[in-house]
Symmetry: C2
Subunit: 191 residues, 2 copies
């Protein structure tokens, strides 16, 4: 899945790779500086030292750029922890919850004044991939998996959002201990 994506990316024209990376890194550093809402396409292309029009050859707008960024970040996390090709187990679930929490905490620290609109956008992208992953985990089951996978996806993302918004965050492990059973109830039949 994501390895296919990598292959595709590696075969690209070096100019394209270069430009895309310039856009990505400029975008990320601007995100930390000023926050998503106040970053313009102009800003990105200025920092990347490319022409503004070139930007539109790669992304249709800054929302698609955000999408792409989030997707890349999530996939690299998942691969790092080898969660991509496994099936449901309590341990895997714990790790997954953990990843999502970490991801959102990091996101908040790396993005100045993350406002609602921004978070909504990230959420949409992120959940899509989370759902795919969970569906893969439950795939071998003979039971219907759509609804449990849906509930789990949303519950995990919801809990992680909650955690990342707390003023005084407890230790991540502590939180995951509390959160885990709330998600696991509906998945245990697949263990």
């Amino acid at each position: 899945m994501s390895s296919k994506l990598k292959e595709l990316e590696e075969k690209l024209d070096p100019r394209v790779k270069r430009t895309r990376n310039l856009i990505l890194t400029s975008f990320q550093s601007l995100l930390t500086e000023k926050g998503f809402e106040s970053v313009s396409v102009q800003d990105v292309t200025n920092k990347a030292e490319i022409n503004r029009v070139t930007f539109y050859a790669h992304f249709s707008d800054k929302y698609e750029l955000l999408d792409y960024t989030v997707q890349k970040a999530f996939m690299s996390e998942v691969e790092k922890r080898n969660l991509n090709m496994c099936s449901y187990s309590p341990d895997n679930l714990r790790n997954l919850i953990l990843i999502v929490c970490e991801f959102l905490v990091t996101l908040h620290s790396r993005c100045a004044q993350p406002h609602e609109q921004f978070e909504s956008l990230v959420e949409g992208t992120f959940k899509k991939h989370l759902f795919e992953l969970l569906s893969r985990w439950l795939k071998e089951s003979k039971l219907p998996t759509e609804l449990p996978a849906t509930v789990a996806t949303w519950a995990i993302y919801g809990l992680a959002t909650h955690y990342s918004h707390l003023k005084k965050r407890p230790a991540l492990e502590t939180f995951v201990d509390e959160a885990f059973p709330l998600v696991a109830v509906n998945l245990e039949q697949f263990a």
Copy 2:
């Protein structure tokens, strides 16, 4: 809560009420015609026959307008079914799930090509109110309610989104029968 809001609105300058209504109805009909993404502030004010600048005296942008619209719609649904001031019971939960599903189905029928960004925005607003409602339901409990309320909020909204996106939707009652236990597991301790 929402009654307070109504009181406030009724004391408004008639000119304000008039203008706001013009904006709201124009917006809604444009939503059905062209879909959220392709509606501009200009469009709204043209149809409402007010000056574009006047719009900004009422809403800071079209996103805030959407926010306001969703909020009003949700609250009126909740009040219609008297779900506002009660506490957790299986029956209330069923009705709540039902409302949310209906809301999203209606939304899709009333909005041309609802795209991701649009749905994300609706979701943000909607979940905020859903969470408040559920928290109110669980309030009297001595148990901690934050995490269960969070999970329930997200699970309900997730399931409703899933339902509203199905090509061939089963009868609403049937779906709610399936969905209900997945949400209720974590709330039964409050019954």
